[in-house]
Amino acid sequence: MTGALVVALAVAWLAGASLLPARAVRALGALALGLPVALAAPDRRAGALAGLALAALAARALPARVLRRLAWLAPSLVLLVFATCALMYAAPGSPFAGERVATPQVEAALRAQYGVPESAFEFFGVYVERLLRDGSLGPSLRVQGRSVADLLGPAVPVSLGLGLLALALAVAAGLALGIAAALRPRGLVDRIAMGLALLGISLPSFVIGALLLVVFALGLGWLPVAGLGGPEHLVLPAVTLAAPYAAYVARLARAGMLEVLTLDYVRAARAKGLPERAVVLRHALPGALLPVVSFLAPAAAGILTGSFVVETLFGVPGMGQWFVKGAINRDYTLVLGTSLVYAALVALLNLGADLLYGWLDPRVRDAA
């Protein structure tokens, strides 16, 4: 019952967010921000009040772009979880059909104990109720005696830290390469930078990672091979993860810079006698950054999922391994928990990129 109700609500919300007038959509966005507060509060009445207050504050303070995105976010997450449930249930096998052959009675008892009914709809209902009532992601179905939160708790900071490090690295290296390339198009620096970018886009990350491993960890012995200890363990995974995105950023920054450098305001800056350095960094760069910033959100999503492979390669104990293990073992709750955390992280990064974009581009800021 609850499952069907929540799905219907999400679909209706989604239809509203695409069909209602702009003001109503902004209100929905503000409500989406207040809703978790209202649900998480121990006291119903105080929670509802706090949620409404937050929503009212958000409606005034946040730009329309962000509110629109929030309006989409809440039902999207719900539908994502439901779609994951449906796919997991549609896949052959079940979490209780493991090595030991369980009798139907044993399996029924296990299903009742872990809250895993026979149908995806019912399971989704149980899952959402538990999430809203206790704020719990439930017990892991296959890792004995551990909850999903126990498993993901230590993994989230690792994956997030690795992802942010890689993102920062990609942006820094990509911008430097792209700007250097744009200053002398078709020059030597341009050719080298764009050649590197093409390599970064073409080589699979595990080949880059394996090469780095062989050279820096096994050959030179400068860095540890695998596992997690100090920050030095994150260097090779972060570089590996960053390489393709640094390549894209370099291409975007080069194209953006080339375009901006031909604009009138840059010519005006040159005409009034500013040094080239100031023209490029103070005047042209903000404009040239826009395509890079709009690439940040997909890059963040890609880096987070790309970490599946890199975490496996370097033995980093992040979230990716839990998703893969969960999917292979049909550990429904573990898969759902990982998907939910990933999707929420990606959504947060998207929001951040949106805010940054509006801050950099006055046209977007004023239109909002």
Partner: protein, 286 residues
Amino acid sequence: MTGRGPWADAWARLRRDRGALAGGALLAAVAAACALGPAVLGSDPLTTEPAARHLPPSSAHWFGTDALGRDLLARVLVGGRTSLLVGLAATAVSVVVGTLYGAAAGWYGGRVDELLMRIVDFLYGVPYMFLVILVMLLFSDTARGEPLPVFLALGLVQWLTMARIVRGQVLALREREFVLAARAAGAGDLRILARHLLPNALGPVVVYATLTVPGVILLESFLSFLGLGVALSWGQLVAEGVAVVNPVRSPWWLLAFPSAFLAATLLALNFLGDALRDALDPRSVP
């Protein structure tokens, strides 16, 4: 001024691009080797030879042998068939789905467009690796290691950008006079779409499809690396190579040859795609 069409122009520009020619030649060589090589060499990728385990490259086994004594050259060539096939087939799926979807959104416009594009936005937000892995699970009993589920799963996550491109093109083209002229001549919706709009939108589709092929091959290799891909592909061979890297005595050839083939193919495809984009859209050249 001769009356050459845009495609002839593009072809002429492409032929002058040495990078594109080199990429095309490399690609043709790899494809030919993968298609004909195993038959010519007469070696089998699955025959094990217990006496010949982990042999370095030699005249008998040009690329050496793996842990079970299987000939690596044969494995690389046969694996290449899978990888190239996955790239082409999944790209075909993505082109068909993306073109139909994007054309519908661009043609009908308004609310339909809004709704369809919102769905695309939503799917963009879902980490594609999840979708691929979950779709692969659906086939895990019936067709594990078979190529078909991989084509479908990869094609079904790759059509989003294609849909956006086609939609943008159709949206811009449908207001043009030649569409009005076609309509005045009595052409129906489908005929206008198929005969007047889509052919004009073909350039960007071809470019993006060329760049999708390496993307898909890359994704398949990730899946193989995680143990979820097609049974014998470059990705799986590289994964086997990575697994045996160790500081004492590495069978380096197990990593080097599959990686080199995979990287060279992807590089050539990207080269070709970039050159094609420059050739079809002269404005994009600085």
